[in-house]
Symmetry: C2
Subunit: 506 residues, 2 copies
């Protein structure tokens, strides 16, 4: 009982990937839809993951000299007017606050009262308001560089939402820096991309390609947009972080001027960079299997669950004492900058108990009953592979080898994801092959196509547009480490200097 | 030059306390008014303090079994209608979102577009939406207790604002728990109050009185409201945290039902408890002096600033190398659950440099020049007392004694604040004396009055109202540890069982 014959998640990934994603989240108890359109409630298991990501990334930011600050939730509408004038792709779907009071309406319910003379926008990003602060904070080269990050909630009114991937409200960080020279700002743009790569690869165990966006895919107003792109298990790309070099454009729009060392006046050179709770969606779609989520140990909300096993009530006390003592021992072990998090699950719900933790993706499940105690051994199940099999281990060996096992799981997840990506990435030089690569395998499963294509591109936006129009495939990035390679554009056949990454994308 | 003749902050506390408060914040660079009415920008020095408070308190919460989660920013208006019906003191000053788009208006500017059928309220608290979640999450006694906390921004449309003390948007945490029995819920209410006391006394170095609110001051809907009350340097009380036992009232309003162990159906017993960025205002007003903020070491954004001193450019390299090496050594020292934070300030701005750090309230300033290096000594200035004098110390003694010095400062701040509070607290039994105690000393300085009065009260709300009406003085709390003591009510003269804390309050 409790142990399903087949898989814990229905449908499976192959049967219906988008629906699998929703079901995995539900089964893991990470988050759920809120009673507010397009918003989510992040439940403790999902939020603890986010906290671990935040803590680790925050440490990395600070190590580069970045400091955190907090800017207001609301933005005066005229701040955005300025931006709307300058920026083509200006996001207009915002929550607008027009009243500051609730009043009893004619029918007894509550209605908005106290209209505001100037409506306020709930920040879709804090860019303009941070720019306003920077313009006040910077007056001399001595004030530079200014290296600021904010952790906050932002709102973009989304019509089609999916938990973690696209929600009207989400949590993110946005970094903004101002520099005295372009060289320094460009260096910072790359430095923060490297931080993202390190975070996503070394902690979330998601392999990424570092690259540069084409002009068409660039952040509006940016001179250069760098990004990291990952492949999900439906072979689509997910952008896991971006870092923008904004030149002096943003400084000019916000009035960030400074006096140079030579007493001339100049505009600052700025950057911005961001990641969000979307990374959690990426983690689920990279590692999850048909039994649920799989948490990489370095960011897992908990590392080990201890499952006491006893038949007779009189055994309970003894087993629980043994389990508690083991938990205390394990909790003193440090792993990836934190103490190990150990759960004890004593619920009397049969086999459903172990499956709950499999669905949640905890790296290790440890069963302990009187027989194990007698042998001073533990019965260990790993979540990363063969997780339905369990292995007996001497207690001491388990304790002393625990961080190695966790490292092994972390590494295994990363290697498996690399293999999946590489298996579904192909150098394609022929136009016909390219179109076939991106053609869905069947009408029922439009999501199953080839994956990433590394193909030559001439650099012309028209070719990019044609491919997008035909296949809904975009250039995800021009890899930073790509080699010069003479070829013929996959679209028009004109000369190309190298390959770019084409893919369908989230 | 740079060293003011008198004080760094003008006006002083005695000259104009409210204005002193604004100036201290400005001089410390902790925060500033945002370009949005009633909102603040929390700058890095202020935000780092908040981060330290959050980290420490979060650790304390988790040690009691609490888990964090995140609920949406927006609340459907009908959620509040329900509350508005039940609750007398329902807060109506809310930001209301009525549109979800920005459009070009007839005059070219942006105007709200896409009206919402159902307006949304920006959370003034997440109470109702958390209640809605709890009603779905709880169905059996096995699901209890449910112990949830949220760190978030909330908005209450305030007319008169003061940075940290009262702003339209502020940062806070709200804890919500549900239990199977009233005993357990009451125990939790007290447990969380104790956490607040520990945080505020042991970390912020602010002495507090733990007490219970009178019915008139109780949180609307609560059965019992516990609080901690501190005295600021203008002798007014500041409530630094509250913890509410809500009985089954909240569970009934939100439909939090569960099946008991005996298979009966019952409503859960709930609690809620909160603290906010207001604590920072309390910290400033408790410890600050006429030279600026004073940071208690255990939560200080940084512990030590190293100030390299050199006259000739050729000395620079040598001094900086020595300073960097010292900084590296100090950064490896742990203090109050964190690595020491050490700043190096190499700005060439004369005496203003040291004063900048005095105004910011950093616990220790350390000057290092060629002469100190020759003697392998450092020149140390403490912020807590006699901070204009500096003492030479052997480098090794400074390093090995550093955490003791920080503990000494922490303790000294706490003891000084206790002394101030005790000096300005009086047992008052006579009505005339009571009125005199709360009468301002002069028209120019209405804020200077006696302080706290510990006086007998009969328990009648009418007496409480009279005193509030006459003096703008309220019962801050009925101390939890008060002794039974026969007396006569300070207002009506009828019998009283013990003293309560009367004060003017923020």
């Amino acid at each position: 009982m409790g142990k399903p014959q087949k898989n814990a998640i229905s449908p499976t990934r192959v049967e219906d990937y988008p629906e699998w994603y929703q079901q995995v989240i539900k089964a893991s108890d990470m988050a759920e839809r809120a009673p507010v359109r397009g918003c989510m409630v992040i439940k403790p298991w999902g939020y603890a993951l986010w906290e671990n990501i935040v803590a680790q990334m925050d440490r990395m930011f600070k190590a580069t000299g970045v400091k955190n600050a907090y800017f207001p939730l609301f933005i005066p509408i005229n701040f955005l007017e300025q931006e709307a004038e300058h920026v083509e792709g200006f996001a207009k779907e915002c929550a607008v606050v027009t009243h500051h009071r609730l009043e009893k309406g004619p029918e007894g319910g509550l209605v908005p009262g106290g209209p505001l003379t100037d409506p306020l926008v709930v920040r879709p990003t804090s860019e303009t308001i941070i720019g306003d602060s920077f313009s006040k904070w910077v007056s001399s080269y001595r004030d530079l560089p200014l290296l600021i990050n904010q952790w906050a909630n932002v709102v973009r009114w989304e019509m089609r939402t999916r938990i973690f991937l696209r929600t009207s409200e989400f949590l993110w960080q946005e970094g903004h820096t101002a520099h005295a020279t372009d060289t320094e700002a460009i260096e910072r743009t790359h430095m923060m991309l490297k931080v993202y790569t390190r975070m996503v690869q070394d902690y979330l165990a998601i392999p990424v390609i570092e690259g540069r966006k084409t002009a068409a895919e660039r952040f509006p107003g940016a001179v250069d947009t760098l990004c990291i792109e990952a492949m999900m298990q439906d072979r689509k790309a997910l952008q896991a972080g971006t870092s923008h070099f904004l030149g002096q454009n943003f400084a000019k729009a916000s009035g960030i001027r400074f006096q140079t060392e030579k007493e001339a006046e100049d505009f600052a050179w700025t950057t911005s960079w961001g990641t969000s709770t979307r990374m959690i969606g990426g983690l689920i779609m990279t590692h999850g299997d048909d039994d649920g989520v799989i948490m990489p140990p370095r960011v897992a909300p908990a590392h080990v669950v201890l499952l006491p096993i006893y038949r007779k009530p009189e055994e309970r006390e003894q087993v629980m004492a043994y389990v508690s003592e083991l938990a205390d021992t394990l909790r003193k072990i440090r792993y990836a900058d934190r103490d190990l998090v150990v759960e004890i699950d004593d619920r009397d719900i049969g086999g459903a108990r172990g499956w709950d933790w499999i669905k949640k993706g905890i790296p290790l499940r440890v069963e302990i009953g009187p027989r194990d105690m007698a042998k001073d051994s533990v019965f260990v199940g790993r979540r990363d592979h063969g997780h339905r099999e369990k292995t007996a281990m001497p207690r001491e060996a388990f304790i002393s080898g625990l961080t190695d096992i966790l490292d092994e799981i972390q590494d295994h997840l990363f290697q498996r994801a690399c293999r999946f990506r590489d298996d579904n990435t192909r150098k394609v030089d022929d136009r016909e092959e390219f179109y076939a690569w991106f053609t869905p395998k069947s009408v029922e499963k439009p999501e199953i196509h080839g994956g990433f294509a590394l193909s030559p591109w001439c650099g012309d936006a028209a070719c990019e547009a044609t491919i997008k129009e035909d296949l809904n495939v975009t250039i995800r990035c021009i890899p930073l480490d790509r080699e010069e390679e003479k070829g013929k554009c996959i679209c028009c056949g004109k000369p190309s200097n190298g390959r770019v990454v084409f893919a369908k994308a989230y």
